[in-house]
Point group: C2
């Protein structure tokens, strides 16, 4: 599996607008196992996104989907920057679809 | 919802031992919606854990469960430290149990 943990910063006051766009574009994308959007109680403009994909290729392919491209285009105006991003290799745990947890 | 994103560092060469202990103790704990354990391709001794709970109280209560206490006691000898931890407020996305996604 392929994972991403990232923190983005919305333009002042635009956090909820960015989150609405992220949520609207996040459905059952091919290869997406988990995509969780969270606020940060210590940082009012921050958005944390944690993702699990079957593999890196699925994540990369998702960025080319029309609905994802449209969301990125809309959200760009409200995003001040990306502060943190790490790639991970999820190996298991709890809460992933059957057969993916270990 | 209540979330945690954390990075721990295993003692040199003990990463997989720690991950095995984490995986063994991570089942359907009350209030746990997601608990994903991942390696870091850029850091051989690191373990990333991303968690989603119904609320902070459920997470706190889980730390008192006998099976979790036993796992913590066993793992402690193999953990060098905790390098990063942030609390989040997950609001939705994809892959959480029905009714928890937005």
């Amino acid at each position: 599996m392929y994972g991403l943990i990232g923190k983005m910063r919305a333009s002042r006051g635009q956090r909820d607008a960015v989150m609405d766009l992220l949520r609207a574009s996040t459905g059952a994308l091919p290869g997406c196992l988990s995509y969780i959007i969270a606020t940060d109680p210590a940082d009012a403009d921050a958005i944390w996104v944690t993702e699990v994909w079957t593999d890196q290729a699925s994540h990369k392919a998702s960025l080319q989907l029309p609905e994802v491209q449209a969301a990125i285009a809309k959200a760009r105006a409200f995003i001040a920057g990306f502060e943190f991003q790490v790639e991970t290799h999820p190996v298991g745990g709890f809460g992933l679809p059957d057969g993916k947890t270990g």
